[in-house]
């Protein structure tokens, strides 16, 4: 373990009970986060990003969920902690910005009470100090009229205001690891960039690490040091941000990058990956999980069970045949071009 290392996840498998059996939503994920590093996780909706985040935070319902593998924060195993031990770690050593702000907030408590609750648990602040800190945090996350909002209830706030309250709570005790699950989806671009700046500052100041889960590839391009791409419960590509955007290798990553609507492009229809991700019980557990989505690739080019391999310095891919991969549209265009000549 290097002394910069903050979080080490090794071969984590998170399974949900469906009927009488367990199905893995996170299927053998190994990742690490260093101090002062932003690791972005992107990937298909339903690929297990939030399930992984909840596993790290110890937030899954233990009667319906099984978590195997090792999760170590600052060298300490956090996967097998009791609830009281977890409560000490959560908020202070690791904090989370939840994807669904409404489920993370108590509908019956004012915003002020929800922020001071966390402070109560992890600091020795007096009531007055807690109040000041709460107000300060709301201002930091850019909530206008923060003094009024302190007395409001979650349902009285707009989507983006709720999201910012959740951010304020997550950063209230300066956690060394911050997991941000879609932290800015409900925010306008101006406030989004303000929040990202704020997270960056905190990271540098406290030498903390951030796991940034997002579908917004622009945010990834501007924030991340490294990027992990998930598909069907597995990491299919892992690389530094520049390599990932400039030399994406996995067919899924390449498809994603070509689906982004741009502010310049005038295309009427956007690129779509064929088919859907199978539901957990129907997920093929052998063979390449992406195969069904790229039917035009000849069968014999796929490896049976591709592993995550390092193909360039720090660049990992779970696909052996990426060198032969092409999009049918590209082929068609080439044909047309050849025909013209």
């Amino acid at each position: 373990m290097s002394d910069r290392s903050l979080l080490e996840i090794d071969n984590v498998q998170t399974s949900f009970r469906v009927g009488d059996s367990y199905y893995a939503a996170v299927d053998g994920v190994s990742l690490n986060v260093e101090r002062n590093e932003v690791l972005a996780i992107v990937g298909e909706s339903g690929s297990g990003k939030s399930a992984l985040a909840f596993s790290i935070m110890g937030l899954h319902n233990s009667h319906k969920t099984k978590i195997e593998g090792s999760i170590r924060l600052n060298g300490k195993d956090v996967n097998h902690l009791s609830t009281s031990e977890l409560n000490k770690v959560r908020g202070k050593d690791m904090g989370m910005i939840f994807q669904e702000p409404l489920t993370a907030l108590n509908p019956l408590k004012t915003i002020k009470d929800q922020i001071t609750e966390a402070l109560d648990l992890h600091t020795n602040f007096s009531a007055k100090q807690q109040n000041e800190r709460a107000l300060h945090l709301l201002n930091e996350v850019g909530i206008p009229r923060a003094d009024k909002v302190m007395n409001q209830y979650p349902h009285e706030l707009s989507g983006g205001m709720r999201q910012r309250v959740v951010i304020a709570i997550a950063i209230s005790c300066d956690p060394s690891l911050l997991i941000a699950d879609e932290p800015t989806t409900a925010l306008d671009a101006t406030i989004q960039s303000q929040i990202l700046d704020l997270l960056n500052e905190l990271k540098e100041e406290k030498d903390s690490g951030i796991i940034l889960i997002t579908h917004d590839l622009g945010v990834v391009a501007e924030m991340a040091d490294r990027v992990a791409v998930m598909y069907a419960g597995q990491v299919v590509e892992l690389a530094d941000v520049m390599s990932l955007f400039k030399q994406p290798k996995h067919p899924y990553t390449r498809s994603l990058l070509s689906s982004v609507p741009s502010t310049q492009d005038e295309k009427d229809m956007l690129h779509v990956i064929q088919g859907v991700v199978p539901s957990l019980p129907k997920m093929p557990r052998t063979g390449c999980r992406f195969k069904a989505r790229i039917p035009w690739m000849a069968d014999d080019t796929h490896e049976e069970n591709p592993e995550l391999r390092e193909v360039a310095d720090g660049h990992y891919v779970r696909c052996t045949c990426y060198k032969h991969f092409y999009f049918p549209e590209e082929e068609a265009e080439k044909d047309v071009a050849a025909h013209r000549e």
Partner: protein
């Protein structure tokens, strides 16, 4: 005749405080917006978080009673209608809600959630209803066996698609889509957006599309209104708003769009710092002495901005 006209719409909320929860203040969530939509167009509503976009949407579908102003749909003023007649109109206006989590009843299975509007407004046999639900699920890229699941068994993006499926169930004329794709990966997002365009063409649908993703808005919308503090600061075509923003708020918003090329990081940071400086310097010129937004003035045949 326009499909929908919104005339000087206002929605104000009381703020309560103290132990007695007395009214101590008021939030002017929507403070005088006017818009007109033609059949078949897509109107983008973007702007500051908390500026009143969702509230406007809710007021248009009748979930919020306006403090002032009126909403006219197919020539009929909605707030003057009797309850009974209103029902018919509201069948034609549906909304995809911003928070899929709060709008999906956690105790109901997906088939009941999607069937609800169908049962309320249409008479279908059980078989027919099931077929329709499966069709709708397929349209939004969910497997037919999702029918028997509960909302908590879905990921964030999957829930959002349920909301879209439900809004489509009755084939409405106007859909107010409040952040319909914000929780989706770009590929599923592309699928939903393509699909929204296709059915728009087929059914001559009209959309109000609320989103913070300015790339998506540009892709989808003919006309865009930018909201700030309950008012419009600018309205125009995509080119007007993105390439030639007139209001300082719009300018800053457009400058904040994340760049998909990580090599531009430094350049973007510097550019934004400059625009922020300009914003701070010039802000006073663009708002009245109380910080209020001016009325819209015409800039070109398609372009309006709230200038002094």
């Amino acid at each position: 005749m326009s499909l929908l006209t919104v005339n000087n719409l206002k929605v104000h909320y009381p703020i309560r405080g103290g132990i007695l929860r007395r009214k101590i203040d008021v939030v002017r969530a929507v403070d005088g917006i006017t818009m007109e939509l033609e059949r078949g167009e897509t109107y983008g509503l973007v702007g500051e978080s908390g500026s009143g976009k969702s509230t406007s949407g809710r007021a248009i579908i009748g979930l919020e009673s306006p403090t002032a102003g009126e909403v006219t749909f197919e020539g009929q003023k909605l707030n003057q209608l009797k309850r009974q007649d209103r029902r018919e109109y509201y069948k034609d206006i549906q909304m995809v809600f911003q928070d899929p989590y709060s709008s999906l009843n956690p105790k109901k299975r997906v088939n009941d959630i999607i069937a609800e509007p169908i049962r309320n407004f249409e008479k279908r046999t059980k078989d027919d209803e099931r077929r329709r639900i499966q069709e709708l699920l397929e349209l939004v890229g969910l497997s037919p066996e999702s029918m028997h699941k509960y909302p908590h068994e879905f990921s964030g993006g999957q829930k959002q698609r349920l909301g879209v499926a439900r809004a489509l169930a009755l084939q409405p004329k106007l859909i107010i889509a409040d952040e319909p794709v914000s929780a989706l990966d770009v590929s599923v997002q592309a699928q939903v957006l393509n699909f929204m365009k296709e059915i728009q063409r087929e059914l001559d649908l009209t959309y109000i599309f609320i989103s913070h993703d300015l790339g998506v808005v540009r892709h989808m919308c003919n006309r865009i209104g930018i909201m700030y503090n309950g008012r419009f600061v600018e309205e125009g075509s995509a080119e007007d708003v993105y390439d030639n923003p007139q209001h300082i708020y719009t300018k800053r918003l457009v400058a904040a769009i994340p760049d998909i090329d990580p090599a531009n990081r430094k350049h973007q940071t510097d550019f934004r710092r400059e625009v922020k400086k300009e914003y701070d310097n010039k802000k006073a010129e663009f708002f009245d002495e109380h910080g209020g937004v001016f009325d819209l003035k015409q800039v070109s045949s398609t372009h309006y901005a709230a200038l002094p």
